[in-house]
């Protein structure tokens, strides 16, 4: 019974539905909800269904499986994903890790002016102004948005490593800096 309630709520919700909301409505606690969703996904798998429930950008949503993407792509005129250049990704990476962060700090790390990239990311809705810094000139502080989490399939911003963890994070992965993979 409750399994079905959770399924219906996630199915009907137009946006990611947070665990908190599911708890309020269903009366189940977080652990129970997570267990039910696991059960649901297992049953979808057993029945060869083409979708799963995933936790992205702070809530649960139905997604079709990657294997279906070649067909679904044909349904849409254009990809829902904005095109990001290498430079834009770098700026976005700095903002994502260091947020809230000012443009001067971004410029210092990249050693080149990032003004147009910041504007472009603002326009794409991937970053937003989170306030103003106390430093001279009171520059804007930038941070990432909900749309950012969705675009990169992140549960929340804590899924990314912290600035001070970066070195170790990449040391343990194949992405590490100066391995000559180019």
């Amino acid at each position: 019974m409750s399994v079905n309630v959770i399924e219906a709520l996630i199915f009907a919700s137009p946006s990611p539905i947070a665990v908190k909301r599911l708890t309020e409505i269903s009366g189940l606690n977080q652990k129970e909800i997570e267990h039910r969703i696991k059960q649901l996904n297992e049953s979808y798998e057993k029945e060869n269904r083409t979708f799963r429930i995933r936790y992205v950008a702070g809530g649960y949503q139905f997604f079709t499986l990657p294997a279906m993407s070649p067909f679904i792509k044909k349904l849409f005129q254009k990809r829902s994903q904005p095109h990001l250049t290498q430079a834009a990704l770098e700026v976005l990476a700095i903002i994502a890790i260091m947020q809230p962060v000012t443009k001067p700090v971004i410029d210092t790390i990249r050693h080149i002016d990032s003004r147009y990239l910041v504007v472009s990311l603002l326009e794409k809705g991937l970053i937003t102004v989170k306030g103003r810094d106390k430093s001279p000139g009171k520059p804007f502080l930038y941070g990432t948005t909900f749309k950012f989490l969705q675009l990169f399939g992140l549960k929340d911003i804590d899924e990314l490593p912290k600035a001070e963890e970066l070195e170790q994070f990449f040391e343990n992965s194949h992405n590490y800096a100066i391995d000559q993979d180019q």
Partner: protein, 251 residues
């Protein structure tokens, strides 16, 4: 400062023959150079790298790429490190005190930047993975592909009615566009006849209604022709004023 003759340098060595890639800034270019030659980032051969860096700037300049000021600042930094490295080390260093390498700051900058390049790469991979998942439901920002057919659903009776309307539609009259015949001789006769009656006349008075441009030009040419034949005399008393026509009586 960094203005060398590139061709001359090319003749000297082949270091300039490198594929020009797009760089996102001076640090990006430096990292590229370091990776390209598999250089140990903690022991950068500063003379060699500086030369490579400057070669690149010249190459970029040569193909008319805009070189941002930041690239030049980095060139200056590299040259400064290079000159510091060339200076003899102080003979008296306090024991135990580690000597500072002029390259340290540069290495720190490169490492810091590389970390975020790694994050960018991580994000790129994440976005690519995520793009294979489609969220259930519709999104206003996504436009659907237009369906193959542009026809809208229509009943048989709608179709009949439409066919009837098309068949019954009165044929629209195609306006007959006449070609304006311009005959200067005819205009000459016309002008001379009027002038014989009037003796003197303003040019505009030759027309009783708004003349077409072609008519106006043809009449004006006719007037000029009559002037040439000494049948008419023209007078204009003020600039842009009325043109007066006077008949010259036949001798």
């Amino acid at each position: 400062m960094i203005d060398f003759d590139l061709d001359e340098m090319n003749a000297l060595d082949h270091r300039c023959r490198v594929k020009l890639e797009q760089f996102e800034g001076p640090l990006d270019l430096l990292l590229y150079l370091i990776k390209k030659d598999e250089i140990d980032i903690y022991d950068i051969p500063i003379v060699y790298v500086t030369q490579q860096y400057i070669d690149y700037l010249n190459l970029m300049k040569k193909i008319n790429l805009d070189i941002a000021g930041e690239y030049l600042v980095m060139a200056a930094t590299l040259l400064e490190i290079k000159s510091k490295m060339l200076l003899p080390k102080p003979t008296f260093t306090e024991e135990g005190e580690e000597e500072e390498d002029p390259r340290d700051e540069l290495v720190a900058m490169l490492m810091e930047y590389q970390k975020y390049k790694n994050v960018a790469e991580l994000l790129r991979n994440k976005a690519s993975e995520e793009s294979e998942y489609y969220i259930k439901g519709s999104f206003p920002e996504i436009s659907y592909k237009p369906e193959e057919s542009v026809l809208s659903p229509m009943s048989f009776y709608d179709l009949i009615k439409l066919a009837y309307e098309i068949l019954e539609e009165p044929k629209k009259e195609v306006p007959n566009i006449l070609r304006e015949g311009i005959d200067i001789e005819e205009r000459i006769d016309f002008v001379i006849n009027i002038m014989k009656a009037e003796q003197k006349l303003q040019f505009v008075e030759l027309f009783n209604e708004r003349p077409t441009p072609v008519m106006l030009v043809a009449t004006f040419i006719a007037v000029l022709e009559l002037v040439r034949r000494h049948n008419l005399r023209l007078k204009q008393f003020t600039q842009f004023g009325s043109i007066w026509l006077y008949l010259i009586e036949n001798k």
